[in-house]
């Protein structure tokens, strides 16, 4: 038993966590930037699916990785542009527009797959390419550490770099300042001549770009083909990861990691004869529990009636709040002791 347990938490397991976290992480950062701008992007699922499909098709037909990358990212941006056009310009409810786009992707990828290849299930007949894994020079030779850090997929490394890039962009650049201002008080931004729609458009394009990388990873890294519905809810999981992680890119990365961990665990635990359905549903149960706990500690003291005052719900900086909660608890206990 302990051998098996050890086996679960092996280097392979860590590698597996990193692998399954990558697409969730990218999409979750896509969710973050869109949310901060006040234009939540629920179309992550459809965006991922579409770029996974386009990447495979373009690489299969052109045998060119760069073109596949370009087309895949472009398809993600196009999805965002359509969402932005309808939500910002045509005043469609952004959530409904996103649901429409998800429906479009689900059916559209199958339709075009079948039109182009004659197969409705997967792109097995297409000779598509994959993006490479990368060995980090020098680091790969360090024992243990090299095994963990080196040899991952190139998009995984890109994703890790993007955590820092996004944190910098959002909190240290003029663009980030504008995105946050537009999300927090669009009227204020508008009153100083910042176009709310333009800023949200930019945020959605960034969101689409990040998410499309996640999609490309799925079909050109994680596996080497496109299959119908292959995102399997990862776009929605990314939303949950963002809800957990709050408003900083680091927090969001932690949220994504939690889901990646749970998913990887569900594969490993199958060796222990734990039904995979249990482990598969674990991240969702954890999310519900954490959201509940998070909401609970954010409740104001005299919530009884205030709670009913408005329909407003809470979302935000989870880890910060949890930290505050525990430090407050600790403080109270200290007070009692002394």
């Amino acid at each position: 038993m302990s051998d098996t347990l050890l086996g679960i938490f092996s280097w392979d397991f860590i590698g597996s966590v990193i692998r399954v976290t990558t697409p969730i992480l990218l999409a979750a950062m896509g969710a973050l930037v869109a949310n901060l701008a006040g234009s939540p992007n629920i179309a992550l699922e459809g965006t991922m699916l579409m770029s996974a499909f386009i990447g495979v098709i373009v690489s299969g037909f052109t045998q060119n990785l760069w073109l596949a990358l370009f087309a895949g990212v472009l398809s993600g941006i196009t999805m965002s542009l359509v969402l932005a056009f309808f939500a910002l310009k045509m005043k469609t409810d952004i959530i409904l527009a996103a649901i429409a786009l998800n429906i479009f992707s689900t059916g559209g990828t199958i339709f075009f797959l079948s039109t182009l290849t004659g197969d409705k299930g997967s792109s097995a007949s297409v000779n598509s390419l994959v993006f490479p894994n990368i060995d980090l020079p020098l680091i790969k030779d360090i024992p243990v550490l090299g095994e963990i850090l080196s040899g991952h997929h190139i998009i995984t490394y890109v994703a890790i770099v993007l955590i820092f890039v996004m944190q910098y962009v959002l909190y240290h650049t003029p663009l980030g300042l504008r995105i946050r201002a537009v999300g927090e008080n669009p009227d204020a931004a508008e009153s100083v001549g910042i176009s709310v729609n333009k800023t949200r458009l930019i945020a959605l394009i960034i969101s689409g770009t990040l998410t499309s990388l996640g999609g490309l990873f799925l079909s050109m890294g994680y596996v080497s083909w496109f299959a119908r519905d292959m995102t399997a809810g990862r776009g929605f999981i990314a939303l949950a990861a963002q809800a957990l992680g709050g408003v900083s890119a680091f927090g969001v990365a932690l949220g994504a990691l939690l889901f990646g961990f749970a998913e990887a665990l569900s594969y490993s635990l199958q060796f222990l004869k734990v039904p995979y359905e249990f482990t598969q549903s674990l991240p969702f149960i954890i999310t519900i529990a954490v959201l509940a706990f998070y909401a609970y500690i954010r409740l104001p003291q005299n919530v009884k009636r205030r709670g009913a005052q408005s329909g407003e719900t809470r979302n935000g900086r989870l880890f910060q709040r949890v930290w505050e909660y525990f430090s407050r608890r600790a403080g109270i206990r200290k007070g009692v002791d002394s």
């Binding site: 300042l177 008080n185 204020a188 931004a189």
Partner: protein, 534 residues
Amino acid sequence: MKEMHSDTGVSILEMRDIWKVYPNGVIANANVDIQVRKGEIHALLGENGAGKTTLMKILFGFEHPSSGKILYDGKEVAIASPHKAIAMGIGMVHQHFMLVPSLTVAENVLLGMEPKKGLSVGMAKAFEIVRQAGNQYGLSVPVEKKIEDISVGMRQRVEIIKTLVRGANLIILDEPTAVLTPQETVELFKALRILVDRGKTVIFITHKLNEVKQIADRITVLRKGHVVGTAEVKDMTQVEMSRMMVGRDVEMVIEKKPAVVGPELLCVKKLHYVREDKVAVLNGVSFSVRAGEILGIAGVEGNGQTELVQIITGLLSPSKGDIAVNEKVMRRLNPKTARKSGMSHIPSDRMVRGVALESTVEENVISDRYFKKPFSAYGIQSPRKITRFTKGLIDQFDIRVDSSKRSVKMLSGGNIQKVVVAREFTAGAKIIIADQPTRGIDVGASDFIRRQLVEERDQGVGVLLISADLTELLEVSDRILVLYRGEVVAHFDEVEGLTEETLGEYMLGIKRMSEDDLKGYSQETATDKEGMER
């Protein structure tokens, strides 16, 4: 009255024949002409709802006119967005500040024109720019603090600096004094004078005549979306201005019989309320309302009135203290139990709480009694009886609407308030909490509502009236309390002979009655009482 229009002086702005029709069919501006001269302070005067703010939003590119022409510096312009307005040199300080609470003063001021250091925002430089801009016009601000941490007066300064760093030559201020303390108002007026001395032009939206007299050079008066006239302030008296504003002499003579006071209906005991941000908004307020009297509460907005009303009506739970109705302390006080105990409530924020805009007049007037007979039986509504009842109310309260099934959003402000009042006055209440019952509605409707309040009082109802309109308070109330910083600082059991000036001194914290005089109303005496009770 257009002949008052004179054309001396160089005009910086002219708006000609402006029309604005909102999607719901409401006409906010009709055939409006206005001309503003370079270097003047031009007051735009009018009652709430006269179309002042809409007109300025058009000027600032927030709204687009349905038709009309705008000339700026002699050239015809189309102002498609605030961006365009700013580029032309127009700045606006809105009634509700356009600031991002979690960002710093400097970030707010320079939003959209941030100095750069590499790819990042150059914070040090940003602080310097804002500090300098402020000092140049005598407006110093704490540049590194977050907006959520500074006072309202400070925030307004930030707003003005925002327009200045963007090169504004024409600055629009929308009711800037509404949220300020008297000292802050003085400071603001000083700053405005400096601005004008340095060549800026100011448009000042207000409905306060004394402010116009103090600060403005010329006025344009709007009424119901139309321009009534333009004039030099020095040529006009306040009475003349008020006539232009309201269209007739304000006759506020309400026949009032002496109050026949009955038992204590509502008793507020040592009420404390501390907001989530730790600010103590109410500090031990105590008073009572008796049957057959109107108790008025005076005070500058933001001195705890809102919280007081919300606590009494069960929308907010107090940090400390009790509410007793009919000498019974209310344990689980919420809107439902409050209404059950015989309270009705005319809320100050009628669009937020007073009505459901998409719903019909019928649905709005039965919202507190839908479950009772004859409006429903066994959980099933009786549409015909509801309609008949509503039609009765429409007649009785003179609500101008063609059908009881019209959705409330199609009604004018005054008529919406009449819907609220119709419901609250027919609830069979023993206590009526009237919070700013006539705010922002036309004179006719206001007069009607005041008379209704007095009539209810004559029927033996206890009325608590909270109003920013001192004339109204003095006219209607039998007793008056003054609330300042969450405390009762004065009480007058006799309204006869009391003047607005006297009330003003207490409201602004210049005067305060002695603890002896305040026995039973203020904190200290309240604690004494507690000691005696235990």
